[in-house]
């Protein structure tokens, strides 16, 4: 019986995993190999087990790595704070309009991110609709600007990752059984206590999923920094772009990518431990 169930598991896993092995693992393994090579496009690359590149890359780009981690953390927390009440309202108060509201949260993301980010650039322009008006009213000094500052990049990241946080939160919240809350009420729990001890606890899988879907891509993002950022907002994604496309330093770009991935996995593992685990990682 047990063996049969395990077999089912394997058959469920195989199609997706095979796809990933073919089109993710193989390219990634070749990336790993490249990171240990030395040379240049013209002279050719040679596999030299150059493990020294990893500490080198860490040292050289520690600022950008830390900054990306920090931005990722800020964005995850901010989107969580913004999206949780939103998901809660839709799940618990949405009623017949649940799906409509949910779609409304997702809909802006059917418009290409390039358009969305460019429109934000327009909105945040020094003399644009927002800042220009505030300057006219005297609220802001004439030299004030947002574009090029970290706040603009963070704002862009938060905006772009909001649905990544909201969706899993909604999915987890929506499945919570209302009668449990009634039960808590019957046991004379306050609303706040009922929320924390019942609702929030039960929504933790959604919190976990949303955090992952937000933190992981946000740390590696380069688009927001490129469009909305300035010289001091460089994220690790921008560095990798530059190393790969401009410097043609493929080993460095590959090594940096692995450092990034390792850092993310580490953070995710720690997070899973803190949140209490096994249940959450399945």
């Amino acid at each position: 019986m047990r063996r049969r169930r395990v077999r089912v598991a394997y058959w469920l896993l195989i199609p997706g995993l095979v796809w990933l092995i073919l089109f993710y693992v193989i390219p990634t393994v070749s990336m790993l190999s490249i990171s240990l090579q030395e040379g240049s496009p013209e002279r050719g690359f040679e596999f030299t087990w150059n493990l020294g590149i990893y500490p080198e890359v860490l040292a050289r780009n520690s600022v950008q790595l830390l900054r990306s981690g920090l931005y990722g953390l800020i964005v995850t927390i901010a989107t969580m704070l913004i999206a949780y009440p939103l998901a809660y309202t839709i799940a618990f108060r949405g009623g017949r309009w649940k799906n409509v509201l949910l779609f409304m949260v997702i809909l802006p993301f059917f418009v290409s991110f390039i358009i969305r980010t460019l429109e934000w650039k327009f909105l945040l322009g020094d003399e644009g609709i927002v800042l220009g008006t505030l300057k006219d009213w005297g609220v802001l000094g004439p030299g004030y600007y947002l574009l090029g500052r970290p706040i603009a990049v963070l704002g862009g990241l938060i905006y772009n990752f909001l649905p990544f946080m909201a969706l899993p939160l909604y999915v987890a919240l929506e499945k919570i059984d209302r009668s449990l809350l009634d039960a808590a009420n019957d046991l004379y729990s306050s609303r706040a206590s009922a929320f924390w001890r019942v609702t929030f606890r039960l929504s933790l899988p959604g919190v976990f999923a949303g955090s992952l879907l937000t933190f992981i891509p946000a740390v590696g993002d380069f688009i927001n920094a490129e469009f909305l950022g300035g010289p001091d907002t460089t994220m690790i994604g921008n560095v990798i772009q530059l190393e790969y496309l401009t410097n043609n330093d493929y080993p460095e770009a590959a090594a940096l990518s692995f450092v990034l991935m390792a850092g993310i996995l580490l953070a995710v593992t720690l997070y899973a431990r803190i949140l209490g685990t096994e249940e959450l990682t399945g």
Partner: protein, 404 residues
């Protein structure tokens, strides 16, 4: 569980023990790992041999795929008259893709197939002069059959013959040329500017734009230090880097194409700029000015080339010839506002003005940026030809400036 089981239904009656499955998976993944490893191991030098020889031209295919920068060809609403006239006159179906936004980014996407001996997907690409030089070093460009380009031979300005990056135009012919100078909004600066050091003026702190393009920005810094960009030594470049690092706090950012709308909307007061862009923006905002700094500026050209292994080279030559017709070249210039390599364009514009063209044509015909004089030319410098090692050294230095 119930009577049947899910895997029974999936047709799985033959038992595969878990151990067996794992063993097979293990063997399989080792095999794949080795394959991948071998595939990746020892990537050879990416040079290709094909680029050196003149390949015979196949018969006309009736198809053409071209990649170009945005806003670089005439437009009448959704379509380009030049493309349409070419298609009609030559009975060729042409796909004109505006996919090049950055030299390095575009090169990065076609490199892998080119180095493996495969076609890139494009018959004509338009890239900046230094990239032509670089691609030549790798042998990634086909030799051009000049006998198929009578219009080029007859009409190209001497200035563009036999350039520094492609002796005898063996692998490329120019599409358009321009100048990198400085643009500014006089209503924001309050005065006229004339020097590269105006970019470092703290009066404009936080409102200055520089280019993320290494060659353009380093050239400016070299010129500011009084060095000759085409002969710059590594020490001079290091000094240029120091100059940029010193004034880094003044810059709002290092831009690509997007400096222009920042200048137009007032986020930037002063910026490094390309001649044609400012000309275009001036039509909407007469406060914008462009100048060549007294220390000097950069001149560059964007060139048509045929990547190795292109599928329709004959049709490519037909198009290249087509755009060297002075009438077609004039149509393009009247729309693109960058310098044309074709002789006689300035005169044709005058004719169009006489026949009652739009107002801006007069500005165009008089513009020293679109039709530089000898004097203007003398003030501008091309890029230095960089071999791989030098390019890497310069790139490393530049990275420290733009990514902190």
């Amino acid at each position: 569980m119930g009577e049947g089981s899910l895997d029974g239904m999936l047709g799985f009656d033959r038992r595969i023990s878990r151990r067996e499955l794992l063993r097979r998976a293990g063997r399989g993944s080792i095999y794949m790992g080795v394959m991948a490893f071998l595939a990746a191991c020892g990537v050879e030098a990416q040079r290709r041999e094909g680029g050196g020889q003149l390949q015979p031209l196949p018969p006309k295919a009736g198809e053409l795929v071209m990649a170009n920068w945005p806003l670089y060809i005439d437009k009448d609403g959704p379509v380009s008259p030049t493309v349409e006239s070419f298609e009609k006159e030559n009975d060729v179906e042409m796909q004109y893709d505006v996919v090049i936004n950055d030299n390095e980014e575009f090169f990065g996407t076609i490199r892998a197939p080119l180095s493996a001996g495969q076609a890139s997907g494009y018959d004509i690409i338009v890239v900046t002069d230094w990239l032509i030089d670089k691609m030549n070093r790798f042998g990634y460009l086909e030799r051009i059959h000049h006998e198929e380009l009578p219009n080029f031979e007859a009409n190209v300005s001497d200035k563009f013959r036999d350039p520094w990056f492609d002796p005898n135009n063996e692998h490329s012919i120019p599409w358009a040329a321009g100048i990198t100078g400085i643009g500014y909004d006089i209503s924001l600066t309050g005065r006229e500017l004339d020097s590269i050091f105006d970019l470092f003026d703290t009066e404009f702190a936080g409102r200055v734009g520089m280019f993320a393009e290494m060659r353009d920005t380093f050239n400016f810094a070299l010129l500011a230090n009084g060095a000759d960009p085409t002969q710059a030594t590594i020490e001079e470049v290091q000094a240029a880097q120091q100059l940029l690092l010193e004034h880094r706090g003044n810059f709002r950012g290092f831009y690509g194409n997007d400096y222009a709308d920042q200048l137009a909307t007032g986020s930037l007061a002063v910026s490094m700029a390309w001649s044609g862009d400012i000309f275009a923006l001036q039509l909407d905002n007469p406060n914008l000015r462009f100048f060549i700094p007294k220390e000097g500026a950069n001149r560059w050209s964007d060139n048509m080339a045929i990547p190795v292994g292109a599928e329709h080279p004959t049709d490519a030559h037909l198009f290249m010839n087509h755009v060297y017709d002075p009438r077609i070249a004039t149509n393009i210039t009247e729309w693109v506002w960058y310098e044309s390599p074709v002789q006689g364009v300035q005169e044709m514009i005058q004719e169009d003005i006489a026949e009652g063209g739009p107002r801006y044509l007069q500005l165009l015909a008089d513009s020293e940026l679109v039709f530089p004089t000898e004097e203007t030319n003398a003030q501008t410098h091309p890029y230095k030809r960089l071999e791989e090692e030098e390019e890497q050294a310069w790139n490393d230095l530049f990275q420290e400036v733009i990514q902190a």
